[in-house]
């Protein structure tokens, strides 16, 4: 699992489409980057990245943090999980032409539910653009919805 989480992002079409790459990972979390790109802009007057990109980054990194958990060895790629909810607080505007980073940390895992906190920032973790809390339901059925 630890080997393939790296190219895991390349196999998520939307993650690849917005240019997400894994920066680092540890026992309980990971850091993911989104490079600045014109098609991600939300306000053409300012050139600032859209909040939706931050949402996608926080959601994706939070999910990966669950798979990083050492106690979650059985949460393999074949076992599915579903986001129950995601709450995002936007603390300050993103700056134009700057890459985004997200640090996600799974701080609690039960047999059914994983709890994750994440922050999005440019270069200083202590000056976050947004923070989020997410809960994930583990071991959901991995079949397309009819």
């Amino acid at each position: 699992m630890s080997e393939n989480i790296d190219d895991h992002l390349a196999h998520i079409p939307h993650a690849a489409a917005i240019g997400m790459t894994l920066v680092s990972r540890n026992a309980s979390g990971c850091v993911v980057r989104v490079a600045y790109a014109e098609h991600l802009v939300g306000d053409p007057d300012t050139g600032v990245i859209h909040g939706g990109v931050i949402t996608a980054l926080l959601d994706n990194a939070s999910g990966m943090a669950v798979r990083s958990d050492p106690d979650g060895a059985d949460i393999g790629e074949e076992r599915s999980m579903a986001t129950l909810d995601l709450r995002i607080d936007y603390m300050r505007p993103a700056q134009p032409r700057q890459d985004l980073y997200c640090d996600a940390h799974c701080y609690r895992m039960t047999s059914n539910v994983a709890f994750v906190r994440a922050i999005a920032y440019h270069d200083d973790r202590n000056d976050p653009i947004a923070s989020s809390v997410a809960t994930f339901m583990l071991g959901t059925k991995a079949a397309p919805r009819q």
Binding site: P13, A17, G42, D43, I49, V53, S80, D85
Partner: protein
């Protein structure tokens, strides 16, 4: 925002389709806006680059969140005469079902509109409005022109 001011000058202040066409990220997702009288619906056609899980061909959770956020902001701009894009203060998303690889629709309602802050609820669905894929509520900061 220039585009909002321009549209208002041309008497097209409620032309939300023209607005989303000017937002690079909304264009990248492929969002359009349908208007019937004073009701607007956002539309997200399915596309492969929106997928978050290849095996299930399910929409990415981030796409779902972004679509709900854009739906909320579009409704807010439609209802009010603000000339700047409202800023999201916070948004809370409930994921109710996986997003299937089909067209998705969104509707929002401004539950409270104050001088500085608006509360907006949004919902998105696919084949049936009574079976929503996700719902959100958020707070948005309104900045005077």
């Amino acid at each position: 925002m220039k585009i909002l001011a321009e549209l208002r000058q041309q008497g097209r202040g409620q032309d939300m389709q023209a607005l989303v066409e000017h937002l690079p990220y909304a264009r990248f997702l492929g969002i359009s806006v349908d208007r019937k009288g004073n009701e607007i619906t956002t539309i997200l056609p399915f596309s492969d680059h929106l997928v978050g899980n290849v095996r299930l061909r399910a929409l990415h959770g981030g796409v779902i969140g972004a679509f709900l956020e854009i739906t909320s902001i579009v409704q807010l701009l439609f209802d009010t005469s603000c000339e700047r894009l409202p800023k999201t203060i916070d948004i809370s998303i409930d994921y109710l079902r996986s997003g299937r690889p089909v067209e998705t629709y969104g509707r929002a309602i401004v539950t409270r509109h104050g001088r500085r802050v608006a509360n907006v609820r949004a919902e998105m669905w696919q084949e049936s409005r009574t079976a929503p894929v996700a719902a959100s509520h958020g707070h948005f900061l309104l900045t005077p022109a």
